[in-house]
């Protein structure tokens, strides 16, 4: 009896398959064949030019002879790393790299933040935009141009700035571009000139996102200009600063190769040599592929550890990380 009253069993209607349903690999390949086809060239690029070189890192553990190839060369384990860590170059390379990195942290990292905050305080929009347009320009100039400008302005014969300094200080003429002790100041100056303006963009974007009501509310509560800056402006760009700090930390050891290579000469090698340029000298000019790769691998691993470490630290300190 009761069964008569029961509703008829619901028929499971097979619904049409929709995009995004879980499907077997074969079906997926067939259904999304055009998308996979479009993905192929890009995948090939990453396989050949990004992941094949990673496989090529194995030569750091071999005595690589191009004629014998990756499979035929003799395995030597960690011999190249031992050479590196016990050799005469390591201390100098590590020292130079770290000192340059430290100078970048002290000068190049805060500079765009300070300039962005200054620009943010500028109330005349036309002036603000003009200044922005001008200070972005160097970012688009090549390192060869920047190096050439440096040579032109600081050369011992015609250098405008070199002559000014000489007229001001007197004494004998200094050849700034060929002196080990002037190498670092010149590099820092170049970096500041080239990247400070462009670096402000990301902070200005964060500052532009601040709700004007926040300032209004702060003013209502009697906050002066300084208090507004301290309690509204700075908190607004803190997350951006953290993300940039993590990104920068990963690049601590890759001093910009082109910049340094262009400013390095036989007279300033003692302060100029860093891991990146050393890899070029040993690997490309002297053909020491295996040793150079070992140096590069050491640097790459250290860089990756740094970036993940800083990311972890940022998260521990309650900031949003990168990964």
């Amino acid at each position: 009896m009761a069964t008569d009253l029961a509703p008829p069993p619901v028929q499971a209607v097979p619904r049409k398959p929709r995009r995004g349903d879980k499907v077997s690999t074969g079906t997926a390949l067939l259904r999304y064949r055009w998308l996979y086809l479009m993905l192929l060239p890009g995948l090939a690029y990453f396989a050949i030019f990004k992941y094949l070189p990673m496989y090529g890192l194995t030569i750091a553990f071999q005595d690589f002879v191009p004629f014998l190839g990756y499979s035929g060369s003799e395995w030597v384990g960690l011999a190249h790393f031992e050479d590196l860590f016990t050799g005469p170059d390591f201390g100098r390379l590590l020292g130079n790299t770290l000192i340059l990195a430290l100078l970048m942290i002290v000068f190049a990292f805060p500079a765009p933040i300070i300039v962005a905050l200054m620009l943010n305080e500028l109330r005349f929009n036309v002036l603000k935009r003009s200044i922005q347009s001008l200070v972005y320009i160097p970012h688009f100039l090549s390192w060869t141009i920047v190096a050439s400008l440096t040579y032109l302005l600081f050369s011992v014969d015609f250098g405008v700035i070199a002559n000014w300094i000489h007229g001001f200080v007197g004494g004998t003429k200094v050849d700034y571009v060929a002196q080990a002790e002037w190498f670092r100041p010149i590099i820092v100056m170049q970096t500041l000139w080239k990247s400070t303006g462009w670096g402000t963009i990301i902070y200005l974007a964060a500052l532009a996102g601040v709700n004007p009501d926040m300032y209004e509310a702060a003013r209502m509560d009697g906050a002066g200009r300084w208090r507004q800056f301290w309690h509204v402006t700075l908190p607004a760009i803190r997350p951006t600063i953290v993300v940039m700090a993590i990104l920068t930390s990963g690049n601590l050891l890759d001093a910009s190769f082109e910049q340094l290579w262009l400013m390095t000469n036989s007279l300033n090698r003692s302060t100029a040599d860093v891991f990146d340029t050393f890899v070029y000298y040993v690997g490309i000019t002297q053909g020491g592929y295996s040793y150079a790769t070992a140096v590069g691998l050491f640097k790459g691993v250290a860089g990756a550890v740094l970036i993940f470490g800083c990311n972890w630290l940022a998260k521990r300190l309650g900031q949003r990380g990168l990964f």
């Binding site: 995009r19 997926a28 999304y32 055009w34 998308l35 996979y36 479009m38 993905l39 060239p41 990453f46 050949i48 030019f49 094949l52 070189p53 990673m54 090529g56 191009p66 200054m118 620009l119 305080e121 109330r123 005349f124 929009n125 003009s130 200044i131 347009s133 001008l134 320009i137 688009f140 100039l141 090549s142 390192w143 141009i145 190096a147 050439s148 400008l149 040579y151 032109l152 014969d157 015609f158 405008v160 000014w164 000139w193 963009i201 990301i202 004007p212 200009r225 507004q228 993300v243 190769f257 082109e258 290579w261 262009l262 490309i284 592929y289 150079a292 790769t293 590069g296 860089g303 993940f308």
Partner: protein, 295 residues
């Protein structure tokens, strides 16, 4: 404080002093940025003796174009200029095409395997094989001394790829769906619907890629030994490095305006960038969206 606040509000003395100082410093910064460039421009039209005798000038006393005439009369330089223009144009086209076609499938959230590919891409930002293994791959491919060595190893910039992918994800899906219902396959949708909607971002990244190739010095340094295949950046380097006199010998014939030549070659290498600069500037903020890396 904010732009909303009217200047007319009676600001305190301290606030006004700060404003004056702030403007002075920022104007100074802008001047430090452009004055070297203006000096080089002026110097390239000046005589050798003026460059040697005058400390700093923004307008030459005697306006001459001899340095440019000399440069454009040398085979080496003209060849390098043409090479650079062609490699930049072809290279940027290849790079943009590869970036767009890879970004589009990655923008489809339902595509199986998408996350894996994205992670593989992001990993390359953190870790890479490095200079020597990459050099060996290029060598094994037989690309040494080939112009393709200046293009292919840098074909896709992972940052650009991720930004383009985010852009595709934000396109309205309705149009694409309509095209699919009308019987377009994915390729058709991509070429007929998506690309026409993406003109601004295609323009932006064409420019960014082009600037990258134009300015690239590391690739020719690594992969090009042949003097006849030099690019403009190599010439700039050869002429202005500390031992320019030896390098000049590798240019044709005898040199004459040594200093002026350095100025002029810097101007020629900079000029195209500055011509495109207004267009580059239009799309700045898009190029630095690191936030889009996060899903």
């Amino acid at each position: 404080m904010s732009a909303k606040k009217s200047v007319g509000q009676h600001a305190s003395v301290g606030s006004r002093v700060f404003d004056a100082l702030n403007i002075a410093l920022l104007v100074g910064l802008a001047l430090v940025t452009v004055l070297p460039l203006l000096y080089v421009l002026a110097g390239s039209f000046a005589t050798e003796s003026e460059i040697a005798s005058r400390p700093f000038f923004l307008w030459p006393e005697k306006f001459v174009t001899s340095t440019y005439e000399y440069i454009f009369a040398t085979d080496t330089f003209v060849r390098a200029l043409i090479t650079t223009i062609v490699v930049t144009a072809v290279g940027a086209a290849v790079q943009v095409m590869l970036t767009l076609t890879m970004a589009y499938p990655l923008a489809k959230r339902y595509l199986p395997g998408r996350t894996l590919v994205l992670n593989l891409v992001i990993f390359t930002l953190v870790f890479s094989g490095g200079m020597i293994p990459t050099y060996l791959v290029v060598r094994d491919l037989g690309l040494l001394n080939s112009y393709w060595a200046l293009i292919l190893p840098l074909a896709i910039n992972p940052f650009y790829l991720i930004i383009v992918k985010s852009f595709f994800q934000e396109l309205p899906q309705a149009l694409e769906e309509a095209a699919r219902i009308d019987g377009c396959n994915e390729m058709g949708v991509f070429f007929k619907i998506v690309l026409p909607l993406s003109k601004p971002i295609i323009a932006t990244f064409s420019l960014f890629y082009a600037v990258g190739i134009w300015n690239d010095y590391m690739s020719p340094l690594l992969y090009i030994d042949d003097n006849s295949k030099w690019t403009l950046q190599v010439i700039v380097r050869q002429l202005t490095s500390a031992n320019a006199e030896n390098a000049l010998a590798s240019l044709d014939s005898v040199f004459f305006p040594v200093e002026g030549l350095k100025f002029a070659v810097v101007v020629i290498a900079t000029l195209p960038i500055l011509l495109f600069y207004p267009f580059l500037q239009k799309h700045f903020a898009k190029g630095v969206l690191i936030g889009s890396v996060k899903e």
